[in-house]
């Protein structure tokens, strides 16, 4: 399947999905309400067979008041990959957990929760991963400040 065909087929799964153009690999934007069902299809559908979740990340966009969750998928049987971007609101960042589909995402989601404060529904064990349990705030948010941090003077 070529890159264009893959994008066409993935976008045909549901309404509201768009192709992200500025990207060097096939990338789609998925609305958060539809994300869990689409993820299930991506894993089980014969055309896609994305059996590997290679990376999971987050980006803070304060101007747009959104946090973007980025997923990298790879299919070991078909050899193609796909990037998925899901945007959640900054005030109330809630996203579905992919733990049931790709168990690796348990710790990836704990890390994102730790550093960005994204809450994953149905996550089995959503605790902080790197920082102390009593840490206040989420340090990778762009407006994070604490007493230890030195402000850049310019």
């Amino acid at each position: 399947m070529t890159k264009e065909e893959l994008l066409q087929q993935v976008c045909g799964l549901a309404d509201g999905m768009t192709i992200q153009e500025q990207s060097n690999q096939p990338t789609v934007n998925v609305p958060v309400e539809k994300w869990l069902s689409i993820a299930k299809t991506l894993k089980s559908d014969q055309r896609f067979q994305f059996d590997m979740l290679s990376d999971q990340a987050a980006i803070d966009w304060p101007q747009e008041n959104q946090i973007e969750l980025v997923y990298q998928f790879y299919s070991t049987s078909l050899g193609h990959n796909l990037m998925v971007c899901v945007r959640v609101s900054r005030q109330n960042p809630i996203a579905p957990s992919l733990y049931q589909l790709w168990p690796i995402s348990e710790w990836q989601e704990r890390e994102i929760f730790d550093l960005f404060g994204v809450r994953y529904s149905d996550h089995p064990d959503l605790r902080r991963l790197f920082l102390e349990d009593d840490w206040k705030g989420y340090p990778l948010l762009k407006d994070y400040k604490d007493d230890f941090m030195l402000e850049r003077p310019w």
């Binding site: 790197f130 340090p139 994070y144 604490d146 230890f148 941090m149 030195l150 402000e151 850049r152 003077p153």
Partner: protein, 215 residues
């Protein structure tokens, strides 16, 4: 060393020629210490790779200066090469490692991160701003990361410091921390010459004038 430093000076100084004997003993002890530095394998980020290039790779051959026996246990090491970023969670571990090392112990801090926090000094929630906040440092090697030559220059500086440093009469007395900055305009040739000179003046075997392998 306690026996030597506490009891020997008063015992020996009573004899005629005792102070001179102590001085030559000092130079022997310091020579031995400076030529057999055993580094602790401790690296936290990118600088550690650079130090591995200097310490582990055959091209640079740290064995010439007696510092190639990297020990994984702090109890067998006497040189802590602090290579890399130190974060707050590493701080107590680093302190413990340093405390576990036997006296006399020396610390070389390499890279901008270990000097001041380096690229992460501003807007970082976790980076410790400089190794001196945790442990005393003897030699700083600047760079991000320092080249292997710069690391060697730091090691030579430390050896020089040890030879001129502590004596039996004044244990634990050290020079102030040194910034082992490669002097501007220093060429590789000069550095090589200095290393050869250093090797010749402090070793028992003879070296040929020219280095056989690469630098």
């Amino acid at each position: 060393m306690g026996l030597i430093t506490d009891q020997m000076p008063p015992m020996i100084e009573a004899f005629p020629g005792g102070p001179a004997f102590l001085t030559s003993l000092d130079s022997i002890i310091n020579w031995a210490r400076s030529s057999s530095l055993w580094p602790l394998t401790f690296g936290t980020s990118c600088c550690a790779i650079e130090v591995m290039m200097a310490a582990g790779a055959a091209h640079h051959d740290l064995a010439r200066f007696g510092a190639e026996v990297a020990r994984p246990s702090p109890r067998q090491a006497d040189l802590l090469v602090l290579a890399g970023t130190i974060v707050k969670r590493m701080e107590p571990r680093l302190r413990t490692l340093y405390d576990q090392m036997a006296e006399p112990k020396y610390v070389i801090a390499t890279g901008a991160c270990a000097i001041s926090g380096g690229p992460f000094i501003y807007n970082s929630y976790s980076t410790v701003r400089g190794a001196h906040e945790i442990i005393p440092v003897d030699v700083y090697v600047p760079g991000c990361p320092p080249r292997p030559e710069a690391f060697f220059y730091g090691l030579l500086t430390l050896q020089k410091m040890i030879r001129e440093g502590e004596t039996i009469r004044k244990p634990n007395e050290r020079r102030k921390p040194v910034l082992a900055n490669l002097p501007p305009g220093l060429t590789l040739e000069q550095l090589r010459k200095e290393m050869i000179q250093n090797l010749e003046s402090h070793s028992v075997t003879k070296f040929s004038d020219k280095p056989t392998g690469g630098f």
